[in-house]
């Protein structure tokens, strides 16, 4: 078995895939988005609930239903766990660092202090076809955020 494969399917990824955190769609929510990866048919429905405003705007809940490979399901689970309870401003550097590392083909090492279990997903950065799987939940979160901001404006 190649080490690249083991760096992809880490124990942590498999664990999040089998027992995803915060999974399922919950109420109340302010925005719901549905994202599809048309090349593989993977889907995520994501709901977002925020409280407060400005710098203090806090992520109260992220709930989701993800249909996809182990990488994308684990990515959704890890993301939800990173987001819930934080302020939007706090998670912005997390998201930015995670996206940069995922797009770096392995050049950027993940900062575990910043992205927590997210480092377990970075094995996918070496497999360009899998980067999309891992980033889809984050794209859905961003879209939900934009939707709420548009409603507020």
């Amino acid at each position: 078995m190649s080490s690249a494969l083991n760096s992809l399917y880490t124990e942590l990824v498999i664990e999040h895939d089998k027992r995803p955190l915060h999974a399922g769609l919950r109420e109340p929510f302010q925005a719901e988005v549905h994202h599809v990866n048309p090349t593989c048919g993977d889907e995520i429905t994501l709901r977002l609930r925020l409280s407060g405003h400005g710098q203090e705007q806090r992520i109260e809940d992220v709930s989701y239903e993800a249909i996809g490979c182990a990488m994308s399901r684990a990515a959704a689970s890890i993301m939800a766990d990173l987001l819930i309870g934080q302020t939007v401003a706090q998670v912005e550097p997390v998201r930015e660092h995670f996206e940069a590392a995922m797009g770096s083909r392995g050049r950027i090492e993940g900062d575990e202090d910043l992205i927590g279990d997210g480092v377990a997903l970075l094995g996918a950065a070496k497999f360009p076809a899998r980067v999309k799987c891992v980033l889809m939940p984050w794209k859905a979160y961003q879209a939900a955020l934009v939707e709420i901001r548009t409603l507020e404006a």
Partner: protein, 425 residues
């Protein structure tokens, strides 16, 4: 000139495909089982394109210089070769397109773009019906959805039976006097099911409907003769039959093509152009607007010659044996569910399966680590997967150069994949 025939010697055939020697990493030889997505090319095809580009390259059908005629000859000779390969009565029935998708779009667009001068049977109008099947590749589904939307026609479909063949129980009621077109795959790209062309053609003819056959998956794998098939149109893909990308073929009965309005318009497809209107060339030129894929046509002709020399009957037998072997071997692995019919004469070498509900991307990733290059996902047949409650499948597809040892490696690889994920649960 017909290509000389040669014996079916698998090692000699493999030696024709330079890419088969590729290593994926220093320890892992590449085992290519994705001919259903794109086939690899023998050096005869690569060399033919290089020879054209190094000796005869010029624009076709324009210019009076000798290079222009050399290029035009190469292009038109290719059309003749493809016509012979298809059993077409005339090369004028062979239209070169960008790919099979464009060939199908050409027919679908043209049938919706006629006017009072177009014969009624070549016009789809409001209230008419178009019949497809639930197993279609998106290329033979979406263009018909669009034709229905543009014209106000109704799209209907032949459903799948649980045994992965078409359910023809209600065929006679699905076909009505309003049915103008019946479009269907010769061979499913997912299931490997070979559809009963004769039965479908007979039923379509009985109501006066045209038949459109998507032969992208079948052409490189089985004997193929348009006269025998009896359909009205056939779409082919160059890069799925050992040829280049960037070229496809629409074969159509000449009397249809001659009465149909064009699809893409511009240079090369005209007869006379005025500032406010134009008249159009006879087929096939009418349907080949702009500079065509010339070196690709030359490569495709070389691919047809390559296949013909081996003999499509022999190729079909070879792939049938591989398919039987794969189906037998995979069936013995816990958690494998084959998504396709049992082995038999109407069962071709696209072998899709589900592995214990494990996502096909994950399955494909482990197989790739072993050098096994297979396709994963919905294979551009989303409605078909939905019908069987699947989000995707893993598909191995066999080619003329596939060996029994490679099939055995696939079976061992799938067993290993089952263990790999089984160990986590």
């Amino acid at each position: 000139m017909n290509a000389p025939s040669r014996p079916f010697d698998i090692e000699a055939i493999r030696a024709d495909f330079p890419i088969l020697g590729r290593m994926l990493d220093p320890e892992t030889p590449m085992i290519y089982l994705d001919g259903g997505a794109t086939s690899q090319r023998p050096r005869q095809v690569i060399d033919a394109e290089v020879a054209y580009l190094t000796h005869d390259n010029a624009a076709v059908k324009r210019g009076a210089h000798r290079m222009a005629s050399a290029a035009t000859d190469a292009y038109e000779d290719s059309r003749e070769t493809v016509a012979r390969f298809l059993g077409a009565p005339s090369p004028d029935e062979v239209v070169f397109t960008k790919n099979a998708t464009e060939a199908l779009n050409l027919v679908a667009f043209s049938l919706g773009n006629g006017d009072a001068s177009t014969p009624a049977h070549l016009r789809v109008r409001e209230g008419d019906e178009i019949l497809v099947t639930e197993m279609e590749h998106h290329a033979n589904l979406v263009p018909w959805q669009e034709l229905a939307r543009r014209t106000g026609a109704t799209l209907r479909w032949i459903p799948m039976a649980d045994d992965f063949t078409l359910d023809l129980t209600d065929l006679e009621s699905l076909l009505t006097e309003r049915t103008r077109v019946v479009a269907f795959a010769h061979q499913s790209n997912v299931l490997g099911t070979v559809n009963p062309v004769a039965r479908l053609v007979e039923a379509a003819r009985a109501v006066g409907a045209l038949t459109v056959l998507d032969a992208a998956q079948s052409a490189p794998h089985m004997p193929f003769d348009v006269a025998e098939l009896g359909v009205d149109f056939v779409a082919l893909s160059g890069h799925k039959m050992l040829g280049p990308t960037g070229i496809g073929v629409l074969w159509g009965r000449y009397e249809h093509l001659a009465a149909m309005p064009p699809f893409l318009t511009g240079g090369s497809m005209i007869e006379i152009v005025h500032l406010d209107h134009s008249t159009y060339a006879e087929p096939p030129a009418r349907f080949e607007a702009g500079t065509p894929p010339i070196s690709q046509a030359v490569g495709l002709a070389a691919a047809c010659d390559y296949l013909s020399a081996l003999g499509m009957g022999v190729i079909a037998e070879h792939e049938q044996a591989l398919t039987d072997r794969a189906l037998r071997g995979l069936a013995g692995i816990d958690g494998v569910r084959i998504i396709g019919p049992a082995a038999g004469p109407d069962r071709a070498g696209a072998v899709s399966f589900d592995l214990a509900g494990r996502h096909p991307h994950d399955v494909g990733q482990v197989l790739d680590s072993l050098g096994l290059e297979v396709r994963v996902g919905h294979h551009c047949a989303w409605p078909l997967h939905r019908r069987f409650g699947l989000h995707g499948t893993t598909r191995a597809s066999f080619s003329v150069h596939t060996t029994a040892a490679e099939v055995d490696a696939l079976i061992a690889g799938v067993a290993h994949t089952a263990d790999f994920f089984g160990a986590f649960s």
